[in-house]
């Protein structure tokens, strides 16, 4: 099973229409955007979370203020890089670079998108076996799904392997 079914066909549509329009006009025409679609979801066994190591993956654009480069939030074609944030990071050290959602809630309370303290508490209560030492963060504005598959996903899989996780919780914006 593929991460994206018909990836080659998707890339051709994206490049020939959406991207070509952008290069010619400098503007994005979302009516030409081919939303990625899959017909079948992958199979996988259930796990006992109380005996598992879980990693949080957030697309909120979170980064360590003053210690990491912010994401390129204004780039019209997105940013495909990740930041690794220690899961023990104090919430006040988090900043968010992402121009495609209202930051009102996350500025008041980062746990609406990055629930680092809640996950710690749930591990303390025994619901989660262990929380991974690193949280994966990226800016979830990435119109080129080919680049998501080829550039964004590999370092996430490498981090998952290095963290030896059995489970992942993904929280979009």
């Amino acid at each position: 099973m593929d991460i994206l079914e018909n990836k080659t066909q998707w890339q051709k549509q994206y490049h020939d229409n959406f991207l070509e329009h952008y290069h010619q006009t400098g503007s994005l025409d979302w009516r030409q955007y081919p939303h990625p679609r899959n017909t079948r979801a992958p199979a996988g066994p259930g796990i006992d979370l109380s005996r598992s190591r879980l990693m949080l993956i957030s697309s909120a654009g979170g980064y360590l203020d003053g210690a990491q480069e912010p994401f390129d939030a204004a780039h019209p074609l997105g940013d495909y890089t990740i930041r690794l944030i220690p899961s023990s990071t104090p919430l006040e050290m988090l900043a968010f670079a992402h121009d495609h959602y209202d930051h009102g809630a996350v500025d008041q309370d980062p746990q609406v998108l990055m629930p680092l303290r809640h996950l710690e508490a749930l591990a303390g209560e025994g619901l989660i076996g262990e929380v991974a030492s690193q949280t994966v963060s990226f800016m979830g504005y990435q119109p080129d799904v080919g680049r998501v598959v080829d550039e964004l996903i590999p370092p996430i899989l490498e981090t998952a392997a290095a963290e030896r996780i059995e489970a992942a919780l993904l929280i979009p914006t």
Partner: protein, 79 residues
């Protein structure tokens, strides 16, 4: 997020998504997902409402015990 969840699940990691945008997430066919009608930018609930955030988290994490693929689970939460 749906594609990342698929990649991880295919690599042997159990995944679950807590989402609030059924339209775009559902068509990527992720293995396990919960949806709420909460606004973009506040996926786990209202700022400062730790009880709601934990409720959504726990309901989402519970799905990890179940074999994938699962039908999306819609949570009755309000912003």
């Amino acid at each position: 997020m749906g594609l990342i969840a698929r990649a991880l699940e295919l690599a042997g990691t159990a995944t679950v998504i807590a989402a609030n945008n059924p339209g775009r997430t559902r068509i990527t066919a992720p293995p396990r997902v919960t949806f709420t009608p909460l606004p973009r930018g506040a996926t786990l609930g209202a700022p400062g409402d730790a009880a709601q955030q934990r409720r959504i988290l726990k309901a989402t994490l519970e799905l990890l015990a179940r074999e994938a693929p699962l039908k999306p689970v819609y949570l009755d939460e309000r912003g």
